[in-house]
Symmetry: D2
Subunit: 356 residues, 4 copies
């Protein structure tokens, strides 16, 4: 029941603060004999890395991962895999005022009351910097489920949604927004530039699809895939909503319109729809797993907002430092990692209980 | 890592199938010295009980709970509390065809492939009947957090949403829909009657508010309140979406509009808004916790839908038996129970780690 | 982290007090498709059942187990298996004084201070009666490891040890002591009769051997088989010592005398000794697993001993009621059950992580 | 259910191999506000450090610990504490033959079959080097239980036991054996020198006493202090036996002789004996906790022993490299650390459930 661990048979624990010397993850339960080196992890970290466009924080972190254990001669050994990423570009002085007043939308006040004492530099433990550890752990998880392809993209930013008919998987990596449509990406660029210049920020919706998941993963009743995915996504910084398949939209359908009808197929059943997003009773159905999550706009903004100091005095705060104008953008690789971890864990649990 | 357990310091495990002799829960970790008898649990079960109106299944289950352990002379002893509810009104013959063909939207196919063998009667383990155990366990959880008030209501049914300005807490218990507005309830009645007569079903959105939660509950990073609540709600039958506070709506706000500004108050800080739904960084802020969940329409409908048999042959299926035309209605007491369990667990964990 | 659960992928939770209406266990994670009915469990319970000879408590409990869930048409379904045993022959009046003064060697005082409130009748939750639940759960565990044979016997009682050369497996079930030597059993009978008549009690050492365990079960470093076995045995009532293989005796050997040398064998390696008791680095080696545990003499005796009342007054106590003069005797079936649970769990975990 | 984690509310996870770049531990759940710096940890590591006398391995490791997270301005923050110790003096060439043949008494064979692939250098993950991580984590645990004093010493080495009447706590730190009697230490020196020169090794028994533990820690039934202590100790390299209080000796006492009688005392009850080793029903009684563990002789010896190669061929093996002639010596600080971790965890759990 570690507060900072996630997963069961495949389980990772993260540690580290935004402005400490390093951050890292320990991945436990990885099967032995899988090829793993830093080069299997680095590309995923690079996708999430800050400072790559003007739409992300200008903090320059190389995010170079080191594998400290669990791998011998290029293969995993079944023992814990320790991953470490050094923090390089901390500028703690930017945060000198953060310790004095509570930033609305941030965890400052709650941490202060809960713990009495916290590391305020860069948000400390609550910083999104920690998600680099998740991405590194997720890269390991991908090795456990080689037949599964996991892809996240933004489907809405600042209230501007993509048109489903224009969805182009190939486009996702061609723009700084993980947007599956070039035209929408262009609109987002304008909107995000404007918000940034106005000292404001925007929210986003990220969608992740996992294909190649066989029938039978997920363990009812309290380890349903839906529950695990919801827990995984809702734990990502700034996420306030999660839905599987049609999600909230399903609440507006009639029973017969929401049915994922089946027909005999060439190899196994063929589904005529995927309203359920690839799960039934919390177990994968063999259809693509589809999850969406909503991220609030970045709380760190240059627009002054009303707040109080640690001493309870009224004040206004402007959050300087270097921040993403839309945290949703870099959340896409994080979401992929968390979905990979949930699925890899579910695969191992399924194998453990049923032998398949 | 029990598949059928939930929680950490306060933890419950459920067992039982829809048409087995009984269902039940074992609640572990309950603090000693709390007054507990069947009469503390029964009223909550009665709220969820089937057969109370024409808008719920006509299965007649008294849902009488028995406490088999963990209580002595009316007080909890700190040992496991075993709760049992006998199944009385099973009509397994209604389900004779269920074992032969897969009902779309149900877990039939996924369970069959996962386990190879299942109890198909009434959905077996995947039946919403199991949620009675959660409600019973939730009644125990409420004792652990005496200052917290937890209230769920439907805010949308069949696509018809309540008007926020008409929200009346007192109305919730006066109609069979847990609807906080009499006028909307009347509309829902018409819509649900129509759906029922058409052999169809409707979805719903349920909202739960917990007031009286102090600052500091919830354990970052992987036991954030948000994560635990999302996991708890997404594990309820038919739920496909969860949001905290403004949820998906927050993704459309600008940073300054989403800020929960603070001002000095008479006792502690005063918040000027609650977009975050009572959490920051996964920790409670002292504001009301607000969670919403979306339920798909009941999959068991009398409208024929296309499917396949266990042998892979094409067929059509009509799900007879006794079913709720909208599973969202009876999900409200279940949601309350799950929220109570999450909060009680978070309280004990907070006390364990910090002594407060 | 349930206090009342044991195991990981195969996990059981027990509930119930000595003088409550019933006791029981919920077994979670059992693989599907295994043949299971009450008749697979009852014989193991009968072995542990009280009242079968004058060397065990005279409480008459039929210990009839009921399966309430998780089995359909004679096969496990992969869902939780709920097992219940009703308490029939409680005589709570025998214990009217137990609530007033603390019995030395019993948990009375510690429970009272820890919980403030407890069920004192028959020891409540701390009664060895709870071990019936473990035996029932253990019967399920045996189904998970069909090739493994688990056998416990007493190797010492009241300081009288068996001679190893006279060890006869077939004798174990022919005497009321699970003694592998008829001659020693006769000596124990005399010693135990004398102790019983003197209002005293005796301790014992129980040894359990599991054959047929393949190489590779057990998960280093903190789920070593040794650790899991030690935890399982040390949790049995009255157990104060556990050893694997040569145990404490190994501390007196020289390195070369303690080496389990290997030689090529017809199918796999042949070991020339088994000092290690079937584990190396916490992992099974393919040799028999050998565990021993020491039980203190029954604390409930008719000889008066000095103690204090709940109010802190000096007093003497004589523990009436019906008690085993040597709790070690009936601990043998319990030890078997716990070893079965550890091994079944280890097997599923091994399969989950490595696929074998 | 991490294989490489230990504890519940206070939980640590270790990682690292003997000849990898570093080893480490992540301690999760530590209460906030405790003063912690490297200087609080280093003295405990120094006690366990190799190369300090001719009775331990000559590998020269400074064992300098670094705190990478969880501490800000000298105080713990309630977030995970990452501890890292770099490996400095690996000589992997010494182990070039280890990968080819299985060393009796080592985990080589079991790891190989379990995982198919392992890091054989210095024993890899199964090396006692990993216990440095436990000692570092244990130093953090001590801060959580400030009133508790934990002290381990050797009470037997190579079959030579101390005389209880000569036990002198102050002597423990004055000899290289953690021996509480100078005279016995002198005998051990002779015995161990002889064994070392003969290319052999000796076993030992280590005893740990924790004073200052209040009544009420430990959670029945499956988190009994006894179980947790047994699991913690049996997981230490080379340990094959554990006992609490009189342990195996209790099996030879009569009920009245084993009773820990009570009498009214000046502040709370006074116990007249401590046969139980400070626990009753798995809960602390307020008396000193007394645990003993038996370690087999070091398996790495220069005396040739019969074994097989990875290819199944017969061979003899002599284990070169640098080894402790008695692993029991350096196990004393490790045992202290594990006992500290169990007690700190039990304290937080007790506080969580009961508020005290």
């Amino acid at each position: 029941m570690s507060h900072n661990s996630f997963g069961h048979l495949l389980r990772f624990t993260t540690w580290g603060e935004s402005h400490g010397p390093a951050i890292g993850a320990v991945v436990d339960g990885c099967p032995p004999g899988l090829g793993l080196s830093e080069t299997d992890i680095q590309p995923w970290l690079d996708k999430r890395r800050p400072g790559t466009s003007r739409f992300t924080t200008q903090r320059q972190e190389p995010d170079q991962v080191r594998i400290l254990s669990g791998v011998h001669e290029g293969l995993t050994t079944g023992t814990p895999i320790s991953l470490m990423i050094e923090n390089v570009d901390q500028r703690s002085k930017d945060y000198s005022e953060v310790g004095k007043a509570y930033r609305p939308g941030h965890a400052d006040y709650a941490y202060d009351v809960k713990y009495g004492h916290r590391d305020p530099r860069g948000g400390g433990r609550s910083s999104a910097r920690e998600t680099a550890s998740r991405v590194a752990a997720g890269a390991v998880a991908r090795l456990v489920i080689p037949g599964v392809r996991i892809r996240a993209c933004l489907v809405e930013l600042g209230g501007i949604a993509i048109e489903r008919s224009r969805f182009d998987d190939a486009e996702i990596d061609r723009n700084p927004f993980f947007c599956p449509d070039a035209e929408t990406a262009a609109q987002w660029e304008i909107a995000l530039d404007a918000a940034r210049k106005a000292g404001s920020s925007l929210g986003a919706i990220v969608e992740c699809t996992a294909t190649g998941v066989p029938v039978g993963w997920g363990a009812p009743l309290y380890m349903k895939l839906d529950s695990q995915l919801a827990s995984a996504c809702m734990g990502i910084n700034a996420v306030k909503g999660v839905e599987i398949g049609d999600g909230f939209g399903a609440a507006r359908l009639r029973g017969e319109d929401n049915a994922d009808c089946m027909r005999p197929g060439t190899d196994g059943p063929q589904f005529l729809a995927n309203h359920s997003g690839g799960t039934a009773g919390g177990i994968s159905t063999g259809q693509p797993i589809v999850v969406r999550m909503a991220l609030k706009p970045t709380s760190s903004i240059l627009t002054p907002v009303e707040t109080i100091t640690r001493d309870g005095e009224a004040t206004e705060i402007v959050t300087k430092g270097r921040h993403d104008p839309c945290v949703g953008v870099r959340a896409a690789p994080v979401m992929e990692a968390m979905v990979a971890l949930v699925l890899a864990d579910a695969r191992l649990m399924q194998r453990g209980q049923t032998g398949r």
